[in-house]
Symmetry: C2
Subunit: 340 residues, 2 copies
DNA sequence: CTGAAAGCGCTTACAG
DNA sequence: CTGAAAGCGCTTACAG
């Protein structure tokens, strides 16, 4: 289209130097009100927008951050809608600060060269493990980061986590309160000290508190996916222990589980009670609606952005680690244990 | 951290000029194999990554595209997981071409200055209407665009749409085949010539083909959301016509509807059959699982990226308009009309 | 209060 | 095959 207008064009038309135009734009230096308004007028007329590339070439910051999420398989992002919620939160928080968000899936071969290449101001990293290659590479980048759901041990790191232990505890406690004793858990992949491990710890604490022994055969380490939950149904119904309740560590696996149980003739909640985790938006529309542990995913994303920007701007907030609270939402998928 | 290494550092160490380094990096000009390998070695050693800002300052293209999606309310993205699927497709397609993706929610006040500011190479725009302010502004930008689900009349525009009319036809035909005659539709917001209008046209065609009169009282223009579907349940059960089947133009509203019907004592499919639209991943895990019109959302995103990049690179493909096919997936939510 | 000039890290004709 | 130089659009000391 129309040959891109630059600061030079503005300067020429406004009859000032480019330095002055720059000063007007950035509110730096001292400019007379008169000159400023003259320049601003021209800027408006020509719809001038400063070049981000030129700026970041000098400045050394790009007002660009990336949300880094792991791929499931090569090249394709996780299909858990959880990520969408998170990204919505990040977009929302970033927008408020005039920063733009690049979305980025990574696998173990990612070399993160784009971080340098694009002069990214910072990274929001979701779910990396301490011993992963990605983690090491990210740290070596020396760029501001906020880690989500990662439970990293280094206290210097900025992290946003959920109170997973409390979630595990609350869900289990709820079931115990309903008279259930043989409570199975669908943990998803358990990494030492990771999200699911913490939820599991909460489960154990609740059990212990009520003097219920924890049985290893009640732990099902199946995939955190609908398929994973679906497949678990078989194993649960075939279990020696007559399981009366299941706590799935993700709504998505709870959904698969319920469907799986249904297909082998078991009804929720009549035959088995089920508790999920996350409170993904559609849990309330399921039949039966799902009792679950609620977390505010959008606010998690917003919190992460804010921490990242504080870090970038040197407004070092004292809080390096934020824990988002959870709560229990009781719906229809859990009822008192009838065999009591 | 370590003072950013530039092309100059490489040149100095490799004992060549910066022009040569540039040529090696880009495979341009003529460079002896010897020199090239020497330069490459230094690049590798210093882990040099060229600056995207500096490049785009010269080049005039940034290898950055944006996915533009409308906000529901101010500042927050739609919560329909449909968008996540789409974004996954775009990320995947873009990755393959070494382009990065900015995610951007817009409302009617968006001025799109970031497009100029960031020198974006192109835009993938989801669901804008011909008479919207956003549409006019986007066109005036003069930047390559691909419009998704927008049904714009200008034949010059690059567009990816779904075969919505066929979808509307297939779903309705399926219900008619099962003996249903009083078939209600939950349309979502109908814009003249838009997505839902096309689906509605398909519905009308199927009806007409079977000699079934179309009754205006069977058209429910409720929100394409779980809430919208939920609220429609009341009106549907209270309708004069004894409705035996409902075709919801989104899975998300079908889900809300089924739940709403359930809450007032109506069972799907026994009392009412329901067909959805989209085949969002969890439809197969619902109880009953949902009969729906399937579209491949991920491939829609991929197609859009490819068209956009062809356009950017001047590899003008002859196809300006691509229509993604739909198919019917029969599951448990539809059964023969018993009152026949 | 305002302007001339250097420089950010590249690419691209143009010489040689 | 290789290099010196200009220039992309800004910002930032530094003069005046």
């Amino acid at each position: 289209m129309n040959h891109k207008v630059s600061i030079k064009d503005i300067a020429k038309i406004a009859n000032v130097s480019i330095a002055t135009v720059s000063n007007v734009i950035n509110g730096t230096g001292r400019v007379s009100a008169e000159t400023a308004s003259k320049v601003n007028k021209v800027i408006r007329e020509l719809q001038f927008v400063p070049s981000a590339s030129a700026r970041s070439l000098k400045d050394k910051n790009s007002h660009l951050i990336a949300v880094v999420v792991p791929f499931v398989e090569k090249g394709i992002l996780q299909d858990n809608p959880f990520y969408w919620e998170l990204v919505r939160g990040v977009e929302n928080g970033a927008r408020f600060h005039e920063v733009q968000v690049i979305l980025l899936g990574i696998d173990e071969h990612e070399d993160f060269s784009f971080v340098k290449g694009r002069h990214l101001d910072g990274l929001i990293v979701v779910g990396v493990y301490e011993d992963s290659a990605a983690y090491a590479k990210i740290l070596s980048l020396g760029v501001p980061c906020v880690f989500l759901d990662s439970y990293l041990s280094d206290p210097k790191l900025y992290q946003v986590d959920l109170d997973d232990e409390a979630g595990g505890y609350l869900g289990t406690k709820h079931l115990i309160g309903l008279g259930h004793r043989a409570i199975a858990v669908l943990t998803g992949k358990v990494e030492q000290g990771g999200v699911n491990d913490h939820r599991h710890q909460g489960y154990l604490r609740a059990l212990q508190e009520s003097g219920i022994p924890s049985l290893p055969e009640l732990i099902f380490e199946v995939d955190s996916s609908a398929q994973g939950g679906y497949q678990a149904a078989q194993r649960i119904s075939g279990c020696r222990q007559k399981i009366s309740a299941v706590f799935a560590f993700s709504d998505i696996s709870a959904m698969g589980l319920i469907r799986g149980l249904y297909d082998i003739g078991l009804r929720v909640p009549d035959d088995i009670s089920v508790v999920g985790f996350d409170d993904i938006f559609y849990t309330q529309h399921m039949i039966p609606s799902l009792t679950t542990i609620r977390q505010d995913i959008v606010s998690k994303g917003q919190t992460a952005v804010n921490m990242l920007l504080d870090q970038i701007n040197g407004t070092e907030s004292p809080r390096r680690k934020v824990t988002i609270p959870v709560s229990l939402v009781v719906r229809q998928s859990t009822i008192p244990n009838k065999k009591i």
